[in-house]
Amino acid sequence: MTVRVAICDGPLAETTRPQTAGDDGAVVVFEGIVRRLENGRPISGLTYDVYSPMAENLLQELGQSLIHDFGVTTVIVEHSRGFVPVGQCSFRLVVSGCHRQEVFRAAQWFIDRLKEDVPIWKKPVPAQAGTG
């Protein structure tokens, strides 16, 4: 039973699958990637503002909910702070557990809550003014 939360500067690095528990049969990884267009206009990337430590606390609580309410075993959350160029990863959620139904349900619930409650804000950086 593990919940790990990390806010990282800039785009998230590629990772390999974390070690899962011996009874885990299912791992779902979700990655949010910065898209080329924001409201139809080309951007060079997004800048993320994170209200710490409230964001980390809430992510940790959501992770604990997955374990207690959905029965999963591992939750790993990473979110970027600062500038993330188009095509790069700004958010990653890994959920592992015994069966696929629970990890899929848990991951989707987590992301819905994140997008509703967790104090993180993105701000588009227009393509011409981009740093990336």
């Binding site: 503002d49 409230m54 994140l114 997008k115 104090p119 804000w121 701000k123």
Partner: protein
Amino acid sequence: MEQVDQRQQKTCESLRVFLFGAEATLLGTSEIFVPAEEGIRTVRDLRSWLAGRYTELRPLMSQIRVAVNHRFAADDTPLGPNDEIALIGKVSGG
């Protein structure tokens, strides 16, 4: 003693409110100081004061939540100068 402390707070200390996202952009600042004289004692007081003082925030007030010490706080939560207060408008992480 209690009363003295209370009077000192009232005259010397203000509340500090952090802003993010659309609210920070709209007001052009990431923090607001609320003078002690305004007599803000609860989250409810703060919301009324903000809506009165910053008319441009009014359309957003319905989706703004107030966090006190890194937790979403109900309207009757008391506020003091040592509390970390933040307005949490529409978030956009993920």
